[in-house]
């Protein structure tokens, strides 16, 4: 492994993938919170014609001009989406899907046009569809680093207005923030993130890099700052793992591997994150259900005993079942295991009977007192 890490190509891939993960993680957090996840999809598909135009303008596979072209067409597509949805009865989804697909169609036409005119240099353009980590050179890292720097700086400078706009756009507008201009700026920054990833992840899958780290981080964090930082870290991890895997297994496209890693991280977060995770939630619910129902059944036995003025009153299990409308045997057994009730002898023609123990009476009385106290404090 140390030998691997000093490998020149591998270092480049690793650095590039980490950069992509960081920038898409940071900006993706805003997209996810603002319910604009699919904007990234439109931006990345619509970047394809820009890739081709950048190539045609530069006349070679120059990453700087390709990224510039991609940025222009991605932002143009976003503006078109906004124009369509603001001025017609078409909704956001139709606007996004229309510009996404038309942008991509234009990209395919331009791509095949470049290819039909020949020349060996255009061969590399195909890699922008699915991403090819191995095609990344050390020189490619500089434009990427520049884009990451610009957008991180933008987020730091605009932190407060962006935060306000994310959580309360109405208030942000009332407070006098230029909401439309901020939205446009944020969209442009998401486009920067998308463009950064074009070379390694590809236009088709860059959308996932905008969404998955943010969605994963949201499960762990309740604050915007925490979420943005964690999202950047998770994005970097996904980029590094996927990038390494594809560098070590030639023939596998980089984009899909990075995306699968990021999706896996998001799924794990959804399942195990402490507060919002589905497994902890399921466990908490189960425990609560168990404890309340056993306590309530103990309460039933206690009330029956008090009604009969006999703390050793024998309660028939069938009566408890009927009262609670469920089979209470597991709960009664659980109570017996805790030493709060005990099974008693019964005649063969009767069902099983249960009796409170001394500890059971104390426990039920304490619970009742607690509940009464709560009721009093509420009234």
């Amino acid at each position: 492994m140390p030998a691997l890490l000093t490998d020149y190509t591998l270092q480049t891939v690793l650095l590039g993938a980490v950069l992509i993960g960081v920038i898409s993680g940071v900006l993706g957090s805003f997209a996810v919170l603002r319910r604009q996840s699919l904007l990234g999809d439109t931006l990345s598909h619509a970047a394809l014609p820009g890739v081709c135009i950048g190539f045609m303008v530069a006349g070679a596979r120059d990453l700087g001009s390709i990224m510039g072209g991609a940025l222009v067409t991605a932002v143009a597509a976003a503006l078109m989406t906004v124009a369509i949805t603001r001025h017609t009865r078409l909704k956001m989804d139709a606007g996004l899907a229309a510009t996404l697909s038309l942008g991509f169609a234009l990209g395919v036409v331009l791509l095949t046009w470049i290819q039909s005119r020949g020349g060996a240099a255009q061969a590399g353009l195909d890699s922008f569809l699915f991403g090819q980590a191995a095609a990344t050179t050390r020189a490619d890292l500089y434009p990427m680093l520049g884009l990451v720097g610009i957008s991180l700086l933008g987020v730091v400078v605009l932190w407060k207005p962006l935060k306000l706009m994310t959580f309360d756009p109405t208030f942000a507008a009332v407070a006098g923030l230029p909401v439309h201009r901020l939205e446009a700026l944020l969209t442009a920054m998401i486009a920067l993130a998308v463009v950064t990833g074009l070379q390694m992840v590809g236009v088709v899958l860059m959308t996932a890099m905008v969404i998955a780290p943010g969605a994963a981080a949201r499960q762990w964090c309740g604050s915007l700052l925490g979420m943005v930082v964690l999202s950047a870290v998770l994005g970097a991890v996904a980029g590094a793992v996927g990038g390494l895997a594809s560098a070590l297994a030639p023939g596998l496209s980089t984009g899909p591997l990075i995306v699968l890693t990021a999706t896996l991280i998001a799924l794990i977060s959804l399942l195990v994150a402490p507060h919002r995770g589905l497994i902890p939630q399921w466990y908490r619910q189960r425990r609560r259900r168990q404890s309340t129902s056993t306590d309530r059944i103990l309460g039933t036995l206690y009330e029956l005993a008090r009604e009969h003025d006999d703390w050793r009153y024998r309660v028939e299990q069938g009566a408890v079942d009927a009262y609670h409308g469920m089979v209470t045997e597991p709960q009664l057994v659980a109570l017996a295991e805790r030493g709060l009730v005990t099974p008693v002898d019964h005649l063969p023609d009767e069902g099983p009977h249960w009796q409170l123990t001394e500890a059971g009476v104390d426990h039920a009385a304490a619970r009742e007192a607690r509940q009464r106290g709560r009721r009093r404090s509420r009234s």
């Binding site: 319910r35 229309a98 038309l102 169609a105 395919v108 996932a208 899909p256 959804l270």
Partner: protein
Amino acid sequence: MSLLAEPLVAILLTGMLVGTSAALLGSFLVLRGNSMLADAISHSILFGIAVAWLLSGQTSGPVQIAGAALSGVLAVFLIETLTRTRRLRDDAATGLVFPALFSAGVVLINVTARDVHLDEHTVLLGEVGFVWLDTVTVAGVELPRAMLATGVMLLLDAAFVLAFYKALKLATFDPDLARALGLAPGIIFYAHLALVSGTAVAAFDAVGVVLFITFVVVPPATAYLLTRRLLPMIVLAMLIAALSAPLGYALAIALNVSIGGSMALANGPFLLLAYGWRRWRQQRHSARAMATQSGSPSA
């Protein structure tokens, strides 16, 4: 060689069949505000295509199409399940599910099907220009396999829409009322999306999965800008899609570019024209409103 297997006829007819069936089903998606599901489905079927190919060694044939279409339905189901956990909004759930399925499909193809005719570029971009090379003979008539598949899907789609027109309409415009009337909008929804997936699979080697979305969304969106009534909208959408195929073909021949790509792109001018017309009417309308306001201030 039969007429249907002539390259020009095969290419144009297949493109028009793909376009009209996509526009027919897409009209309901656009009206329901679910256009991005078309995006999700058409990306996700790559996974199904890869699995069907792994299991049977073929990408065409009814079983393969149905099997691959299942992965589109699976994507919708996963998106709904993720959304229902309330941990993710529907947009994030969509954006999480379909790239994952698409990636899984690409990796499967990378690992198992290298150097075979099935590769991720074909699935993504398709090549309608080659449909006439792969023919089958049905009832003594030789016709391209892709044309047969898309033709059958168009018939199925049309039969579904005709049979459940009322229910579809109600489920689109008022799902609550549809539910109250016992029309099971959920089942209609899934059946509709299953057909979208099936049509996408049948179309993928003609126009590719991403270009399929263009035909699902753009013609209905264009038609919706021109009319508010459902039936004229569907007819108009299918007409636009059918026109885009020959227009795109002409463009592709003139520039020597991807035929599928330019057929999809040919939908664009229709949308732009409809948008321009809308804006022009709006502006004329507001100008007239202003004129009447300033002309009769006392009224």
